[in-house]
């Protein structure tokens, strides 16, 4: 009695995509089979995405993985070549202005208005959204305070530091009180202080219920900020889940790093393979992926081997990332 019923249910779940005609109410981004090509080059190769209200969603991937192209499509400034896309429940092909009115965008490179002051940048950007002047003035003051730029309010943009420009870009993206904030590599090129200051601001926004969608190639950033993320590689989604889920699925709990004298690493790999779920040989060290790093380290010593250094660490998103996207350099 029970078995046929549960079978039907499973079938229904499996066929969910086929039956799905559009996004759910709480799905702010909903993409199915989304593709973007530039001439012969395929930047995004048929991806499915769902971003729910209130979550922080990350696109992780090496350069050229298709993250920025995807972000521009979500920002309703780049038409999809193929596939179905709904942003805030609307179709960007027909409702671009209405969608953009409710989005905040932090682009990869700052495009602040160089001919205006810090405050004027916020004022005029608010005007682009059709917000009344008095309302923008009040909001601009709050936002300058939020990103700690009140003292520079009447300075031109150009002499500001990279971190300050970035903070101003974030303030600008919030002038229309967006429901969803799109951040393309928000902290690339910033010093550690500026990065942490930005993360702090983004975290506060998330607490206020703003949905965050960001791209990054920093693992610590993804682990800090994202509830859920996809790893993109060559225009496709290689994996999806929370940071912890991804580590659980694609890596072991711990990693044992062994350094032997130069040239010996390769030779030792064969004899240690049975100690780990997976072993990776790098020019300068061996990586043993295992759930119990200490036990493996002890076993190594028991076999009479004496590596120059032994390090047991927890598996990180970086291990997942490198496993999924490879170690070769991407330009």
């Amino acid at each position: 009695m029970i078995e046929p019923a549960s079978l039907t249910q499973d079938a229904a779940v499996d066929n969910r995509d086929a039956f799905e005609v559009g996004p759910g109410v709480e799905e702010l981004v909903w993409a199915r089979g989304l593709r973007k090509t530039f001439g012969d080059f395929t930047a995004v190769d048929g991806i499915d995405i769902s971003v729910r209200r209130g979550e922080a969603f990350g696109f992780l991937g090496p350069n050229g993985a298709g993250k920025s192209s995807t972000m521009r499509m979500i920002g309703a400034v780049s038409p999809a070549t193929e596939g179905r896309l709904r942003i805030l429940g609307r179709d960007p092909v027909t409702d671009g202005p209405a969608i953009r009115a409710r989005l905040g965008v932090v682009p990869q490179t700052d495009n602040l208005d160089q001919e205006l002051t810090v405050r004027e940048n916020l004022l005029i950007y608010g005007r682009y959204f059709g917000i009344p002047r008095a309302q923008i003035r009040a909001r601009a003051a709050e936002l300058l305070d939020f990103v700690q730029l009140t003292e520079r309010a009447d300075d031109l943009v150009e002499p500001l530091s990279g971190g300050m420009k970035r903070r101003l870009t974030i303030a600008r993206s919030l002038i229309n009180e967006p429901e969803m904030l799109l951040l393309d590599e928000p902290t690339t090129g910033l010093d550690p202080q500026a990065r942490h200051a930005l993360w702090d601001r983004l975290f506060r926004l998330k607490q206020r219920g703003v949905t965050l969608v960001l791209t990054t190639h920093y693992m610590d950033e993804a682990e800090q900020l994202c509830d859920r993320l996809v790893v993109m590689d060559k225009g496709r989604i290689a994996a999806e889940g929370s940071p912890a889920e991804l580590i659980g699925t694609y890596s072991t709990r711990e990693v044992l790093e062994l350094r032997f004298p130069a040239g010996e690493n390769e030779a030792h790999a064969g004899g240690l393979a049975d100690l780990a779920d997976r072993i990776e040989v790098l020019p300068d060290r061996l990586l043993l992926y295992t759930d119990d790093g200490d036990a493996a380290a002890t076993a190594v010593v028991e076999r009479g081997l004496h590596p120059a250094s032994v390090l047991v660490r927890r598996s990180s998103l970086e291990d997942v990332f490198l496993r999924l996207t490879g170690r070769s350099l991407v330009d």
Partner: protein, 288 residues
């Protein structure tokens, strides 16, 4: 059980087909029309910028004025009168002044829509930021063109006032020279915008000079069309500044006939084409 298969197609349009039709729609649909309210926001932005740089705006007024003083009054004293193509003998200064007014409308519009727009497009990335808001590429094109026209209107009005002060205005028709100059500005700004969208580097701007200077020198600015052999007359009559100059001259001198409608039509069509191409090109450049 047997009900579910036939239900499937009606419930699910299928992702591939839906995807195809939506991109097809995007290709078939014309550019969204610019909204006057949204386009005006870009004008507001430019006003904000020039509130600090109003001297820069003023400078655009002096160039035609210097031409007027040097060529009109200086050379005018040597030439005396000239017989227009309409067969009327008029004072040389009166002949040249409206042509300089029309040329300055062209110059202002072209500089604004080429150099300034190119800088904002390629270096300041202004429009990338603007297009992330509800504004669309056609709003940007319309807004920047409007701004160029407003500057043009300011210059034309002051230039006409100077002409009036120097006793170079012969008719009440001259008031219409201001909208005529705005039309010239529109035509050239729109085409300038379209041309800029094809430019790859600052070197390409040599072509702008190459188009502007001969037009300024040969479009009946300094002498009537009858000076040319007939074949050349046809060539000159094909160029846009000729129509601008003839339009303004006929209004300022009060020698008005139906031919001004032809000049107006030429400039309207030119501006409309420029704006359509410019908006489309901006969209392909910015909305990749």
């Amino acid at each position: 059980m047997s009900l579910s298969p036939p239900l499937q197609p009606t419930v699910s349009p299928g992702p591939t087909r839906a995807g195809l039709s939506s991109t097809l729609l995007a290709r078939v649909l014309p550019m969204p029309l610019p909204s006057a309210r949204r386009a005006s926001l870009l004008v507001e932005r430019n006003l904000l910028v020039y509130r600090r740089g109003w001297l820069l705006i003023l400078s655009g007024f002096f160039e035609p004025l210097f031409y007027l003083l040097s060529i009109g009054i200086g050379i005018g004293a040597l030439v005396g009168t000239v017989t227009t193509d309409a067969g009327v003998a008029i004072d040389y200064t009166v002949f040249v002044a409206p042509a300089l007014m029309a040329s300055s409308a062209m110059n202002g519009a072209v500089y604004d829509s080429t150099f300034n727009i190119f800088f904002k497009l390629k270096y300041a990335k202004l429009y990338d930021a603007v297009l992330a808001t509800p504004l669309s590429a056609s709003d940007v094109a319309a807004g920047e063109t409007t701004w160029a026209l407003m500057r043009g209107a300011l210059y034309s009005t002051t230039f006409l006032a100077v002409m009036l002060a120097l006793g170079l205005v012969e008719s009440w028709w001259a008031i219409l020279a201001i909208p005529a100059c705005i039309l010239i500005g529109f035509a050239f700004a729109a085409v300038g915008l379209a041309a800029t969208s094809f430019m790859k580097s600052w070197q390409n701007f040599e072509f702008v000079q190459l188009a502007i200077l001969p037009m300024f020198l040969f479009s009946t600015t300094f002498y009537p069309l009858s000076v040319y052999p007939e074949a050349l007359q046809v060539v000159v009559q094909c160029t846009p500044l000729y129509h601008g100059i003839e339009l303004v001259r006929s209004l300022v001198t009060g020698i008005v006939d139906a031919s001004i409608l032809g000049h107006v039509l030429y400039l309207v069509v030119m501006g409309a084409l420029g704006l359509i191409i410019g908006s489309k090109r901006l969209a392909t450049l910015l909305l990749k």
